[in-house]
Amino acid sequence: MIDRRDIFGLAGAIVGHAGLLAAILFFAPKGPSKPFVPSNAPIMVTLADDVGLISAAPDPSDQPPASASAGEEAPPDTEIAPPEPQPDPETQPKPAPPRPNPDASERQRPDRQRTNQQTQPNSNGRPRPGLNLNLSANDGPAPEKTNGTGNQSQASTTGKPQMDLGQAIKRAVQPCADQQVIPAPEARQIWVIVQLRLNRDGSLAGLRIVGHEGTNDSNERYVARVDDAVEAIFRGCTPIRGLPPELYDVPGGWQSRKFRYRLNS
């Protein structure tokens, strides 16, 4: 039975809900008070496909523009050879574009000579550490993929990024590492020193765990399980393909290599 009070209550409820809706629409936040400003500058990520004895990254800081070494592979920044004197591009006046400039060709020559020296083995026939020895990879001009903006085009002139052999091997076994179950969070702190011997075809010739680092009272009981997991990783993902054959039996090559490894690496 609906009487006058119920009708009044219903009317009040309708008016109240309508008022609340209007208030929500009127006072709804129109947006954040301050526009969102990303706090970090963009980070350029370069995936290195080349493999060297040590890792290298392009140095965009102190090399002349790309025109100085166009068509040649740029030297990495870990170069051992002493830098030859070269003209300062900032202090030299720019040549007039229409007529050929002999100064420019002279300026290119030292770089070219130096690059040829780098891509060839040394006089004793052994590669130098730090050189980009991935000869099977593209020998053409270095792609300018490391540049974020046009005014940083110097980076492409200084060398291609490359990862060292340890990183290449770790990347090759990473699919097997992803399948491993880490026994406990404390086990992530355990570094296993692995002595790895590989055949020339990339297959596993021998694996020996020579030590551990990062063990303590809390994770000592997981050492055996971590050792088993590491051994399973290396046995499961060998033979390793894609390692440069010219770095097989050089000092520091991948015939026999010792490195630190942990499960979440």
């Binding site: 119920d6 309708i14 809900h17």
Partner: protein, 225 residues
Amino acid sequence: MQIDPNLSLVGLFLHANILVQVVMGLLLIASLWSWAIIIGFGFRLRAARKAIEKFDGDYREADDIDEFHRRAAGRDQAIARVFSAGVTEWRRSTSGKAIDREGTRERLATAMGATVAQEIDRLTGQLNFLATVGAVTPFVGLFGTVLGIMNSFIGIAQEQNTSLAIVAPGIAEALFATAIGLFAAIPAVIFYNIYSNGVNRIEARLNRFADGFHATLSRRLENEA
């Protein structure tokens, strides 16, 4: 930077799945009806309390019960109906030649007690709806949320995209159903408790009036014998 209109409260409702919209609509209707009861019952409780006070005062000032009954019997008030039940039972029990005093006392107490219970039942009929809204609407809202989240995950699976910008609107729409459920349930529970306490106090006052009237009739019964 303006907020996405789809993420406003109205936009969340309009862009939700049809089933979730139905759930939200039911919850809004429940909220509307519960607030209608809250407002209407508040007036009704206040009127009942004032009527009891006024009737009790008039009864104490009255010299003759029969004359007071003639004046007050027609009032649409709970306490007036309790009073009328007592008078009616008194007249029935004392209309014969032989009066059973003990039986008359028991019948008077029973008649007025039953009338008090009937009035309280009539008064609390709408409170049951508040109790139901307070207990059920959170679960109904949760049901809508579960449906909305299921739809969101289905959308994620279809679009093969798990970015937060894709997932968040669906989750927000789904959670909006729970918010409406709580919006309906919280005032319903609060006012149910307040009004239950008010009804208990009215019942106590009706019982006190019935006991006092029973005592008056019991004395009169002895005098008539």
